[in-house]
Symmetry: D2
Subunit: 348 residues, 4 copies
Amino acid sequence: MSKLQVAVIGAGYWGPNLARNFRNSPDWDLVAVCDLDEARARKVVGARSTVEVVTSLPEVLARDDVDAVAVATPAATHAAIVTAALEAGKHVVVEKPIADGGQAGRAMVALAAERGLTLMVDHTFCYTAPVLKIRELIADGSLGEIQFVDSVRINLGLVQPDVDVFWDLAPHDLSILDFILPGGLVPTAVGAQGADPLGVGQSCVGYLTLPLPGGAMAHVHVNWLSPTKIRQFVVGGSKKTLVWDDLAPQQRLTVFDRGVDLRATTADRTAAQVSYRLGDAWSPALKEAEALGVMVAEFAAAIREGRPPRTDGSAGLRVLDVLEAAGRSLGEAGRLVPVAGNVGAGAA
Amino acid sequence: MSKLQVAVIGAGYWGPNLARNFRNSPDWDLVAVCDLDEARARKVVGARSTVEVVTSLPEVLARDDVDAVAVATPAATHAAIVTAALEAGKHVVVEKPIADGGQAGRAMVALAAERGLTLMVDHTFCYTAPVLKIRELIADGSLGEIQFVDSVRINLGLVQPDVDVFWDLAPHDLSILDFILPGGLVPTAVGAQGADPLGVGQSCVGYLTLPLPGGAMAHVHVNWLSPTKIRQFVVGGSKKTLVWDDLAPQQRLTVFDRGVDLRATTADRTAAQVSYRLGDAWSPALKEAEALGVMVAEFAAAIREGRPPRTDGSAGLRVLDVLEAAGRSLGEAGRLVPVAGNVGAGAA
Amino acid sequence: MSKLQVAVIGAGYWGPNLARNFRNSPDWDLVAVCDLDEARARKVVGARSTVEVVTSLPEVLARDDVDAVAVATPAATHAAIVTAALEAGKHVVVEKPIADGGQAGRAMVALAAERGLTLMVDHTFCYTAPVLKIRELIADGSLGEIQFVDSVRINLGLVQPDVDVFWDLAPHDLSILDFILPGGLVPTAVGAQGADPLGVGQSCVGYLTLPLPGGAMAHVHVNWLSPTKIRQFVVGGSKKTLVWDDLAPQQRLTVFDRGVDLRATTADRTAAQVSYRLGDAWSPALKEAEALGVMVAEFAAAIREGRPPRTDGSAGLRVLDVLEAAGRSLGEAGRLVPVAGNVGAGAA
Amino acid sequence: MSKLQVAVIGAGYWGPNLARNFRNSPDWDLVAVCDLDEARARKVVGARSTVEVVTSLPEVLARDDVDAVAVATPAATHAAIVTAALEAGKHVVVEKPIADGGQAGRAMVALAAERGLTLMVDHTFCYTAPVLKIRELIADGSLGEIQFVDSVRINLGLVQPDVDVFWDLAPHDLSILDFILPGGLVPTAVGAQGADPLGVGQSCVGYLTLPLPGGAMAHVHVNWLSPTKIRQFVVGGSKKTLVWDDLAPQQRLTVFDRGVDLRATTADRTAAQVSYRLGDAWSPALKEAEALGVMVAEFAAAIREGRPPRTDGSAGLRVLDVLEAAGRSLGEAGRLVPVAGNVGAGAA
């Protein structure tokens, strides 16, 4: 099977990672790296290499030896670049968020469908071993009915002029939720609370509340203000509760048996409180692999099999719709507001 | 110095712990344990003991050899029992919440003041080594300006007919916030979101948002539905960030230096993201002691010195006011609502 | 069933813990606490109590209302006190080590057997939830054949004039090994290495090597010189490996599946090395209970059922024999030396 | 400054890592990869690359555009390859152990000195952030006098026909000890105990005891038989104790203050034992960087500055001498035996 040929557009923060993974992949031949800044692109390509450096987007899109492009440019440029690439007949994988607005995103998804091209969003976390395992444990019923999901993502972030902590960090959590929840991320409403203790004009600490169909609730805490990372993701199910601590390398996923009937607890409340946990815990072996490597393999497989990739344009839109709803809730003192996309989906 | 004499009222879940600590205290002489259920009270007293067992509250309150009572009965009974005790001239420490409504609570505080008696609320967590140290590190400026506080308290809880997860668990977090924040817990508003995935008629998963004066925000996640405990409390300050993980016995408190200037981060976003943390971390030695032992010592000291105890009736009221506001916010889809008590405070 | 009556001899470091557990036990009636220092004994008894304080050992042993005694005095006094108690017809539980020499220990065991009395050694760790579970997992074959056991016990210790780190700390590890190994602790030899970096005249850091029948090996690291505790106990079996970290309250025991065939590893050495572990991990629920409470219950059960307790005098002797052999190995530059007791056992 | 030119010899397990780091280094130009297996070498080089693939060692060594070689072949071949490279005038970095015997190792070191060429041993761990920091904290006196060092390295290993666990794993620990101890690794003697519970004919579990000048002791536990990794390194000093847990990414190094005077502990033994630690703990920020990248930079700097690299041939010899002494101790039931090299050092 011959390799697919790809060019990486954008040699900034994420582009080098994409380039490295396409290079190491048995599915792909990295043909070129494109950036307005030639030196930056050349650095990604490295010495003693025949991968080409291009500074013109039209030039890359005009090449016959490019089947697909990977777009790692700022979100505000996604719509224009992705649209041009699709119109040039290239398959596309684009960084998240898919676009900076729902309308642009919908147009991109429609264009890809119309042209019969693959449009994938690089929801990288969905290709990590823990998230793939969580999806599996929910899908096969191991956890039971989902009762709550709580995600905490505390990082030292970069206060940026044009983006708040929701748009910067929450796409990670929302894309994971979209990937693991059986019906995708279709909350019945969205509530958002934000704080700007530095007075920079936008939220640096943010909380999202996402009531789910059936009475469950997802909640996301994103935070730029801590010099230490916390990445903790809890899925509470009727049978088991799963804790993913991404910073505990030996025990990243732990699944806790309920171990006791809820009524049994009633009888001896003291016992329940002094014990640190009830029931056995189990930590599944994870098949470690670099997520981006799994992502580029999925991109190739989707193109070859003519099927939607796991994190397709629609997944990108669902994430985008929640982000836009969060903005509206912030304007209404955190009140739960409906999600535009879901209404559309319901109407369809 | 002669010992103060005390009776414990209520021999249920918490009463035995109070009794044990009064017994072991050099400040106190435990005279009697009072409960309607004589066998239960007798079990608390134990064999080969001359501590008395009493089944009548008036009988205990009428005794001359009782200076103070500790009330560990259901919240709905607090107002009546505490009022009777104060009227009998006894100093009182009462379990949290101080009462089941703001009006009753205010009356109790007023009565104690009028009679010149000590009224203390057993906010036990405020007497633990980590909380005492957090208060100290905030008070002495080590953390800088507080930017956010995030508290997570996930337990396997007891679904009760008359109380939701906010009233059951959040008093712990709120009393800690009240204790460590320089001005006490006086949020500018309260937002609450709750979920009832079991369909039991009240929230089993709850989130509280508490904007603080100056742009900071406190947030509380209380949750009954997990077979494993999570107790994580993060205080983000302008100088340092503190993480309290109550289940990590060797490193319960960790203080993280910011370590880099925020602007410096901008220059090399990649570096900031690949490193798990920036700057040194420091874990202060904690002087371990049973919190209830510290609490009963404070109760004695407050009585002897004629000063308010660290967690006095007013602290109990501030917690109560937030709980009541949370209920109102729940009724308004999570919108931020004002806190009754603070209005009063502002008017004063 | 009437309660057994017990007196505690020695109100120093450990005696108060014994007294408290006998007091709280449904099996026992604590009659008296005996110590040459009356004030110290009185403090253990506490206020408003009718438990008696006695300063004369003969007086306690002469009482008819004392079925058993618990001896918590210095090791050098065990032989005399235990012998007197047995001769007075009392059942005995004694702190570890059972005696300060093998000869005295053997005489005590023989005397108890002759009088038909229970002689138990307080190997407290053998009554903790983790050790009980480890014993069970070895006994039922879950771990497979034992290949190695490695125990690390690092504490800040008290440099004492008359005892080295082996005699102070290793009895804990040796008693655990004796309890969990199917045939008890009968190493084929003992090697010991010690260091005295402070120049205090005896080992403050010690290592014991204990080759076991069948080619396995146990190893113990005891260390007084660290301000932080490490308590880590690893049991490597042919099927699974168990790690007990006593300072990780939520995950004290973890059992790791081998997960791969050893030959399979050969094929891809890299994979084995980059992954933190292979196979699933499992952390059994532990039924938490205070170990001393379990111990006093076992003492009562052994007396009532006329059977040897789980940690009987012979267990104490096996531990003692290893300690004595370790001393000989230290004198021979760490060379493996035979264990006296095992020779005797073989000859029997 | 022009780049130094290098060829990697051996494209097996470790060679690809070396190649990748030379490629990414600003100091180096990777000219060729040499392996008898051309396909294996070609895979290391990758697609769209002009790095050459060579199957003949003499051909590589004859090239003028090769300043240095990195040797990543089996230990038994090191002497022949390194000697040929030095005779061809190339600087050399070689994998550990430097050779499979002391005599060969000494000849290599002598030849490099004679030719004025750099001979470096790839003691990779010495270029990791934790080890560099430990060295610094010992060198600047932060830890005080070293009292003990304890290293545990438990991995699932590959049982190999020609090498035991000491030769496979202990070079890591010994090279670290050599790097951090002020005078290098010059133990006064070596004791070794090994176990072969699988009956494979060589030790799979091993313990090394290394008394150090001044009464301190280093100890190493290497172990192939566990499906889970443990990598724990404790340095006990008179002022502080340092714990390096390589699997705790957020807190890899922790430094514990003694916090109390030893005598003070005596007074209240109970307090010392119930507390998990005494004194503050501190976890220094580590500047994360791939160790091999730091190593290749040091190799270039040593060549350019004409100075010995940090882990030079002599360091490799000190490690080798301990391994050989360990073999002799194993033959004498674990008795402490002298180290050959140190005698020579003493005589010099």
